[in-house]
């Protein structure tokens, strides 16, 4: 994480400074607006240097966020944002890397990368705007959709158990695991800021309603509540809490102490020409 130089000679950056002038294409009322607000507030809280911050995403409504920020951005292909971000962060450890996307992007097509990003523990923050649906493709079930949710593609529901992202993240080795709710942008900003500050791979699952295809998610504001317990650094304890989690406990669940994966880069010990010696007869 690279923060701005001391604010003595420069006015501190505001959340607005981290927004681009490009107008989001989201439906009015989409939870992702609040996530964008929370993200820029978190950046301002940390006074991140925009040029040393990069937002990386895949494809989906939620994955549109990079272009809406004033930082560097990378809008890649569906499901592969974590891989692109991993390449960026490992080769450029000076950058603050934030990955954003949806539940379809991250848990379905990108599921394998999610597992391995948790396990690899590169120092970056992964924000999933979970709306339990594929928004961009107009309403199909995702891995977090309830089994009986009716849709054109799965009439009568999928009949499949929903996937619990935080259980997976914890089991796969993420160093920081939290849940936030888009309906509370300030609380979400705090959690995102903590996630960025935490070394290693930080995972923030944000309940972000899709008002178009899941209008009933507007009611999430009445069920989302602060988690009754403080964060733990004990993985087993965090896992036990998740056993009784109903999906609406908001807050940081777990922050571990596993050192991030960052191989050294940029320090040459030999010249390129010298390498040919091993081939010479």
């Amino acid at each position: 994480m690279t923060t701005c130089p001391s604010a003595v000679d420069e006015a501190p950056l505001t959340a607005g400074d981290y927004k681009s002038d490009y107008k989001p294409i989201w439906c009015p009322g989409c939870g992702d607006y609040s996530v964008l607000l929370a993200l820029t507030k978190a950046f301002a809280q940390l006074q991140l240097r925009p040029e040393l911050t990069s937002v990386v995403s895949g494809i989906g409504c939620s994955s549109r966020i990079p272009a809406y920020t004033s930082t560097y951005g990378f809008h890649g292909v569906h499901g592969r944002s974590l891989a692109a971000a991993t390449g960026l962060k490992i080769s450029r450890p000076d950058m603050t890397v934030v990955v954003t996307g949806g539940d379809g992007d991250g848990y379905s097509i990108g599921g394998n990368h999610f597992l391995h990003a948790c396990r690899r523990n590169v120092d970056m923050t992964y924000i999933v705007m979970d709306n339990h649906v594929y928004g961009m493709t107009k309403g199909q079930p995702s891995p977090t959709t309830e089994p009986d949710w009716n849709s054109k593609l799965s009439p009568g529901g999928t009949g499949l158990r929903a996937f619990h992202p935080m259980v997976i993240a914890l089991a796969a080795g993420a160093n920081f695991v939290a849940r936030a709710f888009a309906g509370d942008p300030n609380g979400t900003a705090d959690i995102i800021a903590q996630a960025i500050k935490a070394p290693g791979f930080s995972f923030v699952e944000i309940l972000s309603p899709c008002v178009t295809f899941r209008p009933e998610q507007r009611d999430w504001k009445s069920v989302a509540r602060p988690s009754p317990v403080p964060p733990t650094n004990d993985g087993a304890r965090a896992a036990r809490r998740l056993m009784t989690d109903d999906g609406f406990n908001i807050g940081v669940l777990y922050q571990g102490e596993r050192p991030p994966y960052q191989p050294p880069v940029g320090k040459a010990r030999r010249t390129v020409a010298d390498l040919e010696r091993e081939f010479a007869l």
Partner: protein
């Protein structure tokens, strides 16, 4: 024995050393090549084995010569068998004839029928027994001495090769050297050993194409590699892993090829020249992301070491069957660079060139190597230093109103590297306007498509786009590892007074119509030689170029290599027509 000149190739001998797994024939092959190299010879060493992952029958195929060799030749002068187990499996790969010798323990049982049919002469020699007489010695070391003796290699060259290889196991050295001597003694009793003269003193390397590709990448400036193992590309990655670290770079093992290519793209977006290496199945998985590299204009190099396909195909055997996917395999209008090294040495410079082109043109560049080039070990002249390096057009800090995908005359737009204040932009695989803002406007799409095409087609690729050799009304167009046997066929034809032109195409995409026209000016018959079933190269050429005369095709799939004699005979037949 008759290790005379095989069909016109000056001073060359081909040997096969076979045995069951654990017999150590690969060690023999390696040491024999090293010894020959120290004696001033050139050579090529190809490993082949049965279907078992480890422990099955194996054969070391070698060709040694006074001049650099790029293929195994048409036939083998001798097959040396440590044992006969399943050796018949190699009958196709080790063509013998009445002038060939089969050396082995004839008391082990009858010669496999497939070899008897060739008319090759059996020579009874029990390598195992010779080894048994020396405590701690192995038959493969006797075989080494035998081969070296038959070739007339100085004992010191062979000894020093063995000494170097046993540096860390010096307790085994005395027995090994004694076994080598026993081999030399046995060779002395064989009739008519062949001596080929070497030329010491030249700067030469011992290298595989996969190592050469790795080194070429580093020379070009690659400092980030993401890897997922796959035969026969793994050695590119394994060579790069430690060496990248030494020059300040890094290799990351990815969870799959979808990840490896996207990691490389992410690193390249961050400003670091990046690469991944794979084979057909991995390339198939990478196709979508190659399109991202095209659309977002993020440079990336992919080395595809081709093997038999489709699907899992024949993993450890060579085939030039990824030509079509390389030139056509992306959705949308997606210009890309495809380059093809045509020798083991050329894997170095062509990969280095690919890095240069990808970076310069902010585009994906595919290097189509293949299993033969990648995994064969060769003695080569030290390649000349090439000046190709990564030179990306970088946007300077401080500009106003930065447009990442600005329309320029040559199509290349200055790229902002994250970290540069004031130029923040979002790289995008969605079609976009000049700023990078997603756009589905007809005009934006059209100008961006044209820009991306223009930057590749307008670039001056120089003379390196192909190797154009000789002249004549007969011409052969080929590419990649098939160039080796074609070159040799053309050299033989020349000795018969038949002049043939060679066009070995290195730049497969984008197309170079004027260059082709010039190169083939005056040709009356053109043969296209390639190693795949469906004539992928021939069909590509026909779809992209106008030729003065109809093309003829000579195409055969792997796993067997195309041999010089097959091409030579076609050329001679044409010359008489």
């Amino acid at each position: 024995m008759a290790m005379e000149q095989s069909l016109g190739a000056p001073q060359s001998v081909s040997l096969a050393i076979a045995g069951s797994g654990g017999a150590g024939v690969m060690t023999t092959g390696n040491l024999l090549l090293t010894a020959a190299a120290r004696a001033g010879l050139y050579g090529l060493f190809v490993r082949t084995s049965g279907p078992q992952i480890r422990g099955g029958e194996a054969a070391a195929l070698l060709r040694l010569s006074s001049v650099p060799v790029q293929n195994l030749g048409d036939r083998f002068d001798a097959l040396i068998a440590i044992d006969w187990q399943n050796i018949h499996r190699f009958a196709d790969e080790i063509p013998l004839d009445a002038d060939s010798l089969i050396i082995g323990d004839m008391s082990q049982g009858p010669l496999p029928e497939a070899f008897v049919r060739t008319g090759a002469r059996p020579q009874d020699l029990n390598l195992k027994e010779l080894a048994k007489a020396i405590p701690g010695a192995w038959p493969n070391m006797v075989a080494l001495g035998l081969c070296a003796g038959m070739l007339g290699l100085p004992v010191e060259a062979t000894r020093s090769a063995v000494e170097t290889s046993l540096k860390k196991a010096s307790d085994r050295l005395p027995a090994s050297l004694a076994a080598v001597e026993a081999g030399y003694a046995a060779a002395a009793k064989l009739p008519g050993a062949k001596v080929i003269g070497g030329e010491a003193g030249k700067k030469r390397w011992l290298i595989t194409g996969n190592e050469a590709a790795g080194y070429g990448a580093v020379r070009g400036g690659v400092r980030f590699v993401a890897a997922y193992p796959i035969t026969p590309a793994t050695e590119v990655l394994e060579w790069l892993a430690p060496h990248l670290v030494e020059v300040g770079g890094v290799l990351v093992q990815a969870e799959d090829e979808l990840a490896s290519i996207n990691m490389a793209i992410g690193a390249s977006y961050g400003g670091t020249p990046s690469l991944t290496a794979t084979a057909g199945p991995g390339l198939s998985l990478m196709i979508e992301a190659l399109g991202l590299s095209v659309a977002s204009e993020t440079p990336i190099v992919v080395v595809d070491v081709m093997r038999g396909g489709p699907s899992t195909g024949i993993p450890a055997k060579s085939e030039q069957s990824d030509i079509s996917i390389a030139v056509n395999g992306l959705h949308g209008d997606a210009p890309r660079i495809v380059v093809v090294p045509n020798s083991i040495a050329d894997c170095l410079t062509t990969t280095q060139w690919a890095v240069h082109l990808a970076e310069k043109l902010q585009s994906p560049a595919l290097v189509l190597s293949d299993q033969f080039l990648g995994q064969s070990l060769a003695v080569i002249d030290r390649p000349e230093d090439a000046t190709y390096v990564a030179e990306r057009l970088i946007a300077p800090a401080g500009g106003e109103n930065y447009r990442r995908y600005k329309i320029t005359d040559d199509g290349v737009s200055p790229m902002a590297i994250p970290g540069t204040p004031g130029l923040a932009y979002t790289a995008d695989g969605l079609e976009h306007n000049e700023k990078g803002t997603p756009s589905s406007q007809a005009t934006d799409h059209r100008v961006q498509l044209a820009k991306r095409e223009r930057k590749l087609s307008l670039h001056d690729y120089g003379d390196y786009w192909a190797d154009l050799e000789g002249e004549g009304e007969l011409a052969v167009i080929t590419l990649g590892s098939t160039t080796g046997p074609v070159r040799e066929a053309i050299a033989r034809a020349a000795r018969d007074g038949v002049k043939v032109r060679l066009l070995a195409v290195r730049l497969l995409a984008p197309v170079r119509p004027e260059h082709f026209a010039k190169a083939l000016d005056g040709a009356k018959r053109i043969l296209v030689v390639e190693q795949n079933h469906s004539r992928q190269f021939y069909r590509y050429l026909r779809s992209e170029y106008d030729f003065p005369v109809p093309l003829s095709s000579f195409a055969r799939p792997g796993p067997l290599p195309i041999r010089p004699d097959e091409v030579y005979r076609q050329l001679i037949e044409w010359s008489r027509a």
